[in-house]
Amino acid sequence: MSEFLQQLLNGLSLGAIYALIALGYTMVYGVLRFINFAHSDVFMVGAFIGYYVGKLVPEGTLWGGMIVLIASMVGCAILGMTIERLAYRPLRGAATLNVLITAIGVSLLLEYSGQVFFGAAPRTFPQIFPSANFSVGGLVISTNQLAVILVAVLLMIGLQFIVYRTKIGTAMRAVSLNPKAAQLVGVNNDVVISFTFGLGSALAAAGGILYALNYPSIDPLMGVMPGLKAFVAAVLGGIGNIPGAALGGLILGTVETFVNGSQWSTYKDAIAFAILIIILLFRPAGLLGKFTVEKV
């Protein structure tokens, strides 16, 4: 039983990180109807900003950790908005495929300039937050794992608040529903889209920091696998749907952990993706997504 609970905890903390990254994919998709493949590399840049800022603050303090987290979120928000301004905005109105290819290009650009600027060798991420382990029964809980789940939940609640309770959130939903109509009623689409990218990138940065805290070896290609998993999580939950992305992330993280702990660990990705296929067979729009027929 204690092994089961331990695996559940491991799975939830992994899933919370997938969920954070998945939110960025899903938000951009919700507003712009395209997959921002550079998102997983913004996640990587977030971890590296954390690495450099982490050297300036004392290790293992709460305020130092918060500074690192906020600096990295702000830095990535700016990066996300810059990418949108320079790479995606000129292509607005062009075929979706063009934007998609551009996104792949931006992704590769970030990965390989990362190798030039940060070096290809893995770096050790500092322990920026205070950490401790405590055991409850047979269950050993580390504060890092708890922090991941806690921060993820707080950010998701904050996101839900922004999207449903604020003016800019209403504007985001309006653009998502019908960009032309939103413009007609006075929404500035450019500002809204820019904001969406900034918000999504900030969440990716938070994901990057939390990921690096738990797995303290960071390198310029670290975003590739988690990014792919988070993309799957977003599709699993219903792409464009915010609670769906969170649910998808948690399911994927938990399944992966349980498979990893069994003797079929070699097949962990195969089993996780097989589950995706099965769910999409029965619910083509994902668990919480609504199936809509595209009008021509």
């Binding site: 331990q6 491991n10 992994l14 893995p122 382990n133 890092n144 660990s265």
Partner: protein, 376 residues
């Protein structure tokens, strides 16, 4: 006049050559190594070990009354260069024995040429089993990867007194799989039990699931047979799950990043390697002193010690058969038993690999310190 000059010149040439032959013709030893390029660190350190041995032997009067001559070719860490270098050393320079290389890839290129020319070749740190399988003239002075599995099995059973071992194997690394296989066989043969076997892939970051499963099996020791990055992350996550048993690993752990990344979590872990300059055996200490004196205070690397031993082993074989003739020299090298080297007593086995002691290092106070030598 011109013809007269020419004949005088020829005459003097013959004279010098004749004089040379009388003063004992040198025995030429070839070495192909990466002295430049990305693997230059290995090649340069090996060269220093080989040169030290040759100078020592020459100072004592050489081999069979003849001095040794060292000829080196730089392969620039590039694939394709080894074959050219070795061809040149054999056909133009007429070397009688070949040393090198460090990377298995380079040794594999050179080996067929040495085999065809019947020139014994002693690979330095090429651990891929395929190298010596090229032919009966190809040897190696290092042990091969799976051999460390037996070292770890013995170490876990006899030195750590473990009864229950858990294995973490990187399934996409032949190195790790080989090590785990031999460790499993050896440890069970010594009366121990493998209580859990978990797998991961290189590049993975999350091992909590596997470690939670391992924790339930209550092992005394955990063997992580992959490379240092994953090993360090495995140790960190194991400690955070409250798994405080010792970890052991092979030479894939040997990198400064292990301690940099693992920090406190890798304290009290052990790994095997070829050589430690901190080994306090008298022959090692004396070697380290002579090496430092010769090379401006530098501490020898494992490959320096291997290069040094390689020269002594081959020249000892020459002395034994009294000739530098290829086939006879080959037989003498193949018959080497308990050769006392600085990397341990070396026996060449029937597959022309070296059987020797490995060195176990322990991580203590943020530093890998010599722990003990283990002969399986």
């Amino acid at each position: 006049m011109i013809s007269l000059l020419r004949s005088a010149f020829t005459f003097s040439l013959v004279l010098t050559f004749g004089a040379f032959a009388i003063a004992a013709e040198p025995i030429k030893l070839g070495h192909y190594a990466s002295l430049t390029g990305k693997e230059a660190a290995f090649g340069v350190a090996t060269r220093k070990g080989i040169l030290l041995a040759i100078e020592e032997i020459n100072a004592k009067g050489g081999v069979l009354g003849r001095p040794l001559e060292y000829l080196v070719e730089d392969i620039q860490s590039k694939p394709g260069e080894s074959a050219t270098a070795v061809k040149k050393l054999i056909s133009r320079d007429k070397v009688v024995a070949m040393f090198g290389a460090n990377a298995s890839l380079n040794s594999l290129e050179a080996a067929p040429i040495c085999q065809k020319a019947k020139i014994p070749m002693m690979a330095i740190s090429s651990t891929n089993p395929a190298v010596t399988e090229v032919g009966n003239y190809i040897f190696r002075i290092c042990f091969i990867d799976p051999f460390q599995g037996a070292v770890l099995g013995k170490f876990a059973r006899d030195s750590l007194h473990a009864k229950r071992v858990a294995l973490m194997t990187a399934v996409n690394s032949p190195y790790s799989i080989g090590l785990s296989d031999v460790l499993r066989r050896d440890f069970t043969a010594r009366g121990g039990e493998i209580v859990a076997e978990q797998k991961y892939a290189e590049g993975d970051k999350d091992f909590r699931a596997q470690l939670t499963a391992i924790r339930a099996a209550k092992p005394d020791v955990i063997a992580a047979t992959g490379f240092y990055t994953e090993a360090a992350l495995i140790c960190i996550q194991a400690r955070s799950l409250g798994l405080n048993v010792p970890f052991i690993g092979g030479d894939g752990w040997e990198a400064p990043q292990l301690i940099e990344l693992g920090g406190k979590a890798v304290e009290g872990t052990y790994y095997s390697t070829y050589f430690s300059a901190e080994n306090d055996a008298p022959e090692v200490r004396s070697f380290v002193e002579r090496y430092r004196a010769r090379w401006g205070g530098e501490v020898p690397e494992a490959v320096s010690a291997l290069g040094y031993d390689a020269v002594y082993l081959v020249t000892q074989a020459m002395t034994k058969v009294g000739t530098t003739d290829g086939p006879k020299l080959r037989d003498a090298i193949a018959a080497t038993k308990n050769f006392p080297g600085v990397t341990g007593r070396t026996t060449i086995d029937e597959k022309r690999n070296s059987q020797k002691a490995a060195v176990m290092l322990a991580v203590k106070n943020g530093h890998s310190a010599f722990f003990e030598a283990v002969t399986p």
